[in-house]
Symmetry: C2
Subunit: 324 residues, 2 copies
């Protein structure tokens, strides 16, 4: 059998079974792996991004570097950890302008600096396709680390920021008829230069109120499915409570499309978390309550009608189309 027939998630699961991992959290279990070091956990994550699936031609070199760095730092944020450093391997075609290549590095550097961390090792290699692999290392007190496991029946489900902003950006790229300059600029900024929620993640870890945490890079629904799997719980979401971005609304023909962008598309890199209802006052960052943790089932209430939340989002290898 070929890997294209098997699909990414199935392949990753088979691969993970082969690893004799001695860490506290092993590959595939969470946004990061975690290993004890002194009285802290070191958390580590790696992400491969490349031109065909991640870098449309509208992106500048700076944005390519920023995106690769932000994607990996977002995983550090999703553990409630502080970043120690980022490494970046860059595979670059021979016919790339030197100016573009340097701009990529400027983007990596800027995203690190803005998030209070530093680029550590790098590697540059000739490659047919522009390929960036960012690896981030972070650190968190052992008793404060947040994972996907821990959501408990009765907890509320919350998300930072707005939903569907990056997805609106994708639609604006594909269809040129959306003319509102301000909305377009904001959506593309989100799509190409997402902000890893490092400060938010640390605040959530410090609050003592949060029971489970993940980022929404793969979209709200798939992220909820990951929380469900790790926490062994269900979710009940209310569509009316979702903080759908003005941009997603503006590019949608109807309510259904709006919800699709907000729930089944990725790229927002917000934080999705569950928290004890009685401890919400301890959370010092802005967020929206979008539902609650249940025993089982993945449910979405739209206009009083409860439907099943689909396990739909972006998957490589068997994906019907690229995310951007």
């Amino acid at each position: 059998m070929k890997v294209g027939e098997l699909g990414e998630r199935a392949l990753v699961n088979l691969m993970a079974e082969l690893i004799e991992c001695t860490a506290v959290l092993c590959p595939g279990a969470d946004d990061c792996s975690a290993i004890a070091y002194g009285d802290h956990y070191l958390v580590v994550t790696t992400d491969m991004l490349h031109k065909k699936t991640h870098f449309p031609r509208e992106m500048t070199g700076f944005q390519v570097g920023w995106m690769a760095t932000a994607a990996t730092l977002s995983d550090i944020a999703a553990m409630g950890a502080s970043p120690i450093g980022v490494t970046m391997a860059v595979g670059i075609p021979r016919d790339t302008d030197v100016a573009f290549a340097l701009d990529v590095m400027r983007g990596c550097n800027a995203c690190c600096t803005q998030n209070g961390t530093t680029l550590l090792a790098g590697d540059t290699d000739e490659h047919d396709e522009l390929t960036l692999v960012g690896t981030a290392i972070g650190s968190v007190q052992q008793d404060k680390m947040l994972t996907r496991a821990g959501a408990t029946v009765g907890d509320v489900v919350c998300v930072t920021g707005e939903l569907g902003l990056a997805a609106a950006g994708v639609k604006m790229l594909l269809e040129s008829r959306f003319a509102d300059h301000r909305l377009r600029e904001r959506a593309l900024k989100k799509l190409f230069e997402p902000e890893p929620r490092i400060v938010y993640g640390q605040a959530l870890a410090d609050s003592g109120a949060v029971t489970a945490l993940i980022d929404t890079s793969d979209g709200l629904s798939l992220s909820l499915y990951e929380l469900s799997k790790a926490s062994n719980c269900g979710f009940y979401l209310r569509a009316a409570d979702l903080p759908i971005s003005e941009e997603a609304k503006s590019v949608s023909h109807d309510r259904w499309e709006e919800l699709t962008l907000a729930i089944y598309r990725g790229g927002d890199y917000e934080l999705l978390f569950t928290a004890r209802d009685g401890l919400l006052a301890a959370i010092p960052i802005p967020y929206t309550i979008i539902g609650k943790v249940t025993q089982s089932g993945m449910q979405l209430e739209v206009d009083g009608v409860v439907q099943e939340l689909k396990a739909e989002g972006y998957e490589h290898l068997t994906a019907s189309g690229p995310r951007v």
Copy 2:
């Protein structure tokens, strides 16, 4: 200007200038970057390997995974550090056999396990070209870390293992007339499954005798040039003292070719170090003294005649040919 015209080293230097690095050792300065963490340094390195330049068709999936892991662990060894963990991002073509893909992961896992460490995070992504990016994290006491800087006039130059073994393997692959089965097997094993010298590196760091350290992945000569640049010194090598492997001798037509394989070809992943002459007894691992540290100049004595050691080895982007 295109990056292909500029060349890898020049591009890397320009990129490094853009990085506002807050670490103790920054990208480009050494085998790893290093950042203070508690009373230790965390050392970090990342390496991108891909089919066209690193994985000839004779390699099994296991060897591909092993090689990518070993290459990055070798950099940890070259700091005298202990590995904490390795992350591996795998870009894999859709038409790859699942069995091959799983074998890659087995190779990664085996190399980690054999070197006392563990695979941490992974990422798997569809990619046109088989591409592996390994990132290794290690740890070393601050006063024991070894770098490329520190070689002092009067120190001896030493290398572990044998020279030209991997290069002999390359030649055996290209030319089928080398029939000795035992030599071929040993050379290809070295070429495809190099041993990162983790234990040796730690022993060198503990000895207190070593002044500078690097691995020979890029070949003996280029590695000496890196030591020379970082330590601001010269080297005087004696060809007669080089531990040239039987395999390199067996595939060479003459003494000149033997020396070329031993000095100007990479892939052996041995450790090259300088040490205080009077403290050599403190070094508990096998090694060969091949020359001495001088004020300046890169000299090679062959049969009583002193010639200049060329800065020749493997470089991507402007390379005339692949390493393997």
